[in-house]
Symmetry: C2
Subunit: 326 residues, 2 copies
């Protein structure tokens, strides 16, 4: 009997779930608010309920509603072997050391695998996005949003390391005495080129009177500044705003170039909200790799925008449900 | 019939060769000057002659003198698939695009494999050094000397990438607008913490009168300053010289920490002449990894000095003769 796979993308504010068949075709999809303040037990119970409801709906339509497995991407550090959450910076502290895989598995009667959310998104790109039909691809995935996460796949295999923590590409030190990062370090890529870092420079330029178009676009309200608004302002003529975006793109390019020296990947994939900068970002990253990697030709390295976009995490969770990684 | 393996470590000034049995036990070893000005044909002929002489000597002692294969480490970029040299910065330009593997293979009648010298040394550490008896080890090898080379092995497998160029750990950008590197980039680890970069700071301190012990040790002669002399001066009381060494060690630590965020390896192995700084280097690198990798615990990452030292390249060449990599 053919079976079904469930994918869960647990976020700080919302939870996405999907059911798919064994080929990864999505049959059902839902989003619910996380309400993490309820505590892990209540949230996990709601996730299990949602999957069961999705299964029941499918059962009405077809005969195959057997759940083969569940994959869940979690925002932070998890112990992939035990399926336990370790440190989830965007969820309350009672989420530390929660045996989430065992809890869900008991409620759903099928195996559950846990993985960091950005590694899960990397797996999504690997199996269902740019890596599809390239079984031996080596890729580096940058997810650039409020934070900068990442993941690497080597010869078609997601690299986990002993804790599922390898691939933290946003926490390379690029400026030894740079601004403080959320991880405690200084000068990480995340501290230099995350969404908030980019917006901060937009704020400065606007408040200094150096970004008149941006001022117009957001009616002078800092809270409305986003990288996307900044791109619109740049396109409308704010040259200093364009320069600010390019400077952020250069930092991302340097981080990518460093990964290229280490792994010489086939693909650098850019995802997360900041990837909406589109060609400004990808072409700058391409240039920086070409200019900074001097030891070997990098013509073979493709720099592309995530193919799955916001669905990368959910599709990766389905891939995780399908088979173990690492 | 048991056979023999030949390893060659081709350097800018000297060539080391060794014969080993199939277990990697070295039976013969030689060093000859490179005299690269003679051109590739003459040099390759001398290498073949030397191996044949070693084989003849062995034949006198035992019945097994059948050559199974040859591995050669080469200082620069090689095309590992075709066994052709590409760009060898320390050898004259006629070494570009030399089919060295085919030439040697014809002369010796057995398969010859080519690989970059530091990747070859990494392979040596992997198969015969710290990686011995750890079949799934992930390690990052830094060779810090006149240049800074590197190599990575992932789950027991040397990472080559499409050109055998992955693992260039010395060419991560650590200071975006830093000093110019030999590779054309700015602010590479190599530009900040190679032997010459360290010595340059020794020169500055001595000439400024800030390193009296160093001045004494090298009789005021800049040409005699080495990292090892600087360590002796530091131990004799030159605190600013110690600080200079520590600053270089911190850069190496930052490069290592970056690789840890990407790969979460089991081992960081430090080799090359600068590794003679010993505990000052390894303990600083350890501290920097612990302090800068904030996203996950790094207790499992061991930082060690190369076990094979100067023999790493030759032992890696023997390992390369034994079986293909990547």
């Amino acid at each position: 009997m053919a079976g079904l796979l469930a994918g869960v993308d647990l976020g700080g504010t919302s939870i996405k779930t999907a059911l798919a068949d064994e080929s990864g075709r999505v049959l059902a999809r839902d989003v619910i608010p996380t309400e993490s303040h309820q505590g892990p037990d209540a949230v996990l119970a709601r996730i299990a309920d949602l999957i069961q409801r999705q299964l029941a709906n499918i059962a009405n339509e077809s005969t195959s509603s057997h759940l083969l497995g569940v994959g869940m991407g979690v925002p932070g550090l998890v112990d992939v072997r035990t399926g336990t959450t370790k440190f989830l910076p965007n969820l309350p502290s009672q989420w530390r050391d929660v045996p989430a895989a065992a809890t869900l598995s008991e409620r759903l009667g099928s195996p559950v695998r846990l993985l960091n959310d950005v590694r899960t998104a990397t797996l999504g790109e690997l199996r269902f996005g740019h890596g599809r039909d390239r079984p031996r691809v080596t890729l580096a995935f940058f997810s650039i949003g409020t934070g900068v996460g990442g993941g690497v796949a080597i010869d078609g295999q997601l690299r986990l390391g002993p804790l599922g923590a390898a691939g933290e590409l946003g926490h390379q030190t690029l400026m030894a005495d740079g601004p403080r990062c959320g991880c405690g370090n200084r000068g990480c890529l995340e501290a230099l080129a995350s969404g908030p870092a980019i917006v901060a420079e937009g704020v400065r330029l606007m408040r200094t009177g150096l970004a008149p178009k941006l001022h117009q676009l957001v009616a002078g309200q800092c809270d409305r500044i986003t990288p996307r608004e900044m791109l619109a302002a740049a396109d409308a003529g704010d040259e200093l705003v364009r320069e600010a975006l390019q400077r952020a793109a250069i930092w991302i390019g340097i981080a990518a170039a460093n990964v290229v020296t280490v792994l010489h990947p086939d693909l650098v994939v850019l995802g997360g909200g900041v990837a909406e900068l589109g060609d400004l970002l990808t072409s700058t990253v391409r240039d920086v790799i070409r200019n900074r990697v001097g030891m070997f030709p990098t013509d073979s390295v493709q720099v592309v925008r995530s193919q799955l976009g916001e669905s990368a995490g959910l599709m990766g969770a389905i891939a995780l449900a399908q088979s173990p990684v690492g």
